[in-house]
């Protein structure tokens, strides 16, 4: 059984390793500050053994965008949700985790395509499903 780690306990360790990175945490997830996302991702992969990134997705909560990463450690069979938020609707941006986990390559492109969140440092940030020149970002709540 994959153990879903307790976000609150893990958040304390992360806050020690990368100071100022944890915004808040709850039972299943940790909300990471966008600026230190890449550093946290590296820490998760290299120090904690979370080598396998599965789902990456974005949600438009109107007040903010939330990008969700589900990372899994194959060795210890554990999983945790990492989240990062963007509070602006004009040009929201987050650092890309593709250099750490290549699994994010297409999923970040998809989020850029459908929600309009820019991933800085992505090797090839182009629209994935819709064509270049498509107007707007369909998965935003205000898209009609």
């Amino acid at each position: 059984m994959t153990t879903a780690l307790n976000g609150e306990e893990l958040a304390k360790k992360i806050a020690e390793a990368v100071p100022g990175s944890v915004v808040s945490s709850d039972k299943s997830s940790i909300i990471i500050d966008g600026k230190s996302l890449l550093q946290v991702a590296e820490h998760f992969k290299n120090k904690l053994g979370f080598d396998y990134l599965t789902a990456v997705t974005g949600v438009d909560y109107i007040d903010y965008f939330e990008v969700v990463y589900r990372v899994v450690s194959m060795q210890h069979n554990q999983s945790i949700f990492l989240k990062a938020r963007c509070y602006t609707r004009e040009d929201p941006a987050l650092p890309s985790v593709t250099p750490v986990w290549r699994a994010a390559y297409y999923q970040e492109r998809e989020i850029y395509d459908l929600l309009g969140i820019k991933f800085e440092g992505h090797p090839y940030l182009k629209r994935l499903l819709l064509w270049e020149g498509f107007n707007g970002y369909p998965l935003r709540r205000d898209y009609l």
Partner: protein
Amino acid sequence: MPVKTESFYLNVGPQHPSTHGVFRLRLTLDGEVVVDVEPIVGYLHRGIEKLAETRTYTQIIPLTDRLDYLASMTDNVAYCLAVEKLAGIKVPERAEYIRIIISELMRISSHMMAVGFYLNDCGAFFTPVLYMWREREKILDLFDMLCGQRLLYNYMRVGGVSQDLPDDFLPALKKFVDEMPKYIGEYNQLIKDNEIFLARSKGVGILPKETAVNIGASGPVLRASGVKWDLRKMDPYSIYDRFDFDVPIGEVGDCYDRYWVRVLEMMQSLRIIEQAMKQMPQEGPVIADVPQFFRPPKGETYGYIEAPKGNLGFYIVSDGSIAPYRLHIFPPTLINITALKDMMVGWKVADMIIIFGSMDVVLGEIDR
């Protein structure tokens, strides 16, 4: 006198028999050797994630059929499991067993298509596929008995399945399970040691273990690279912890291993079906008492299963209304094709077709 050469582009697809749908590969070639690969997807994009926001939880089930259309039942199961997790619905025992039997039949059917069309790409044009189709037809007939549909079933419901098994289903299933090992033996006799097939697939398109994990590959593609990771074993959902089965893995992660892992998985699926038929309760309800419109509590959930092609997940955010606030589909094949460039560069165009065929890609799932 030195000859001036330069690389050139070649478009494969979107309409091309080897792409298994509408998929485009933009190749940079140096003579016949692949230098760069850029997969271009989106030709089948129907906006299912956006459509789902304006439909009730039950109305979304037919949409999930259209994801991986060669394994619709498992898409249904994955979605229903996620909603049940979100709303805290308990599925009746008999329905759980029906779901397991159906999922494993679907896995056999999907793997048969994968192997058959892979052989097609290898140049054995449509002879092996017809052998596979012969048995797949029997599975489709079984599904036809269940719900009257052969391809897009809409059979699962939140809280169970739409109707109980008909009386003649289990005897027909028993006959299929008894006969199937013989047919798999027949396939192996035809394919496994065929010298041309071995020459074309052994050592071609190797996906190393580390790369497979790093790109987040799943399903037979990951296991062929030697990683023992099957969600049915590692994180048993539904009632998979009650069955005894093995997880076959490959040795090097070449095209041959990806083919062979699928064949071995078919045998394991048959084992699971046999056990499920023995353990299944004879009677009982097949669907929990779920109203037509229900309001799951506010919150989010991620439900996932080991679909035939890999880890299929549904991330659902609920705002307490009768429709999801956000539905995200995590498709295994989109993630698997991240590795195409690593696998194809340095091989010839003819091998490129084989490498792509061995990935078992379905575009309905990639484009959503």
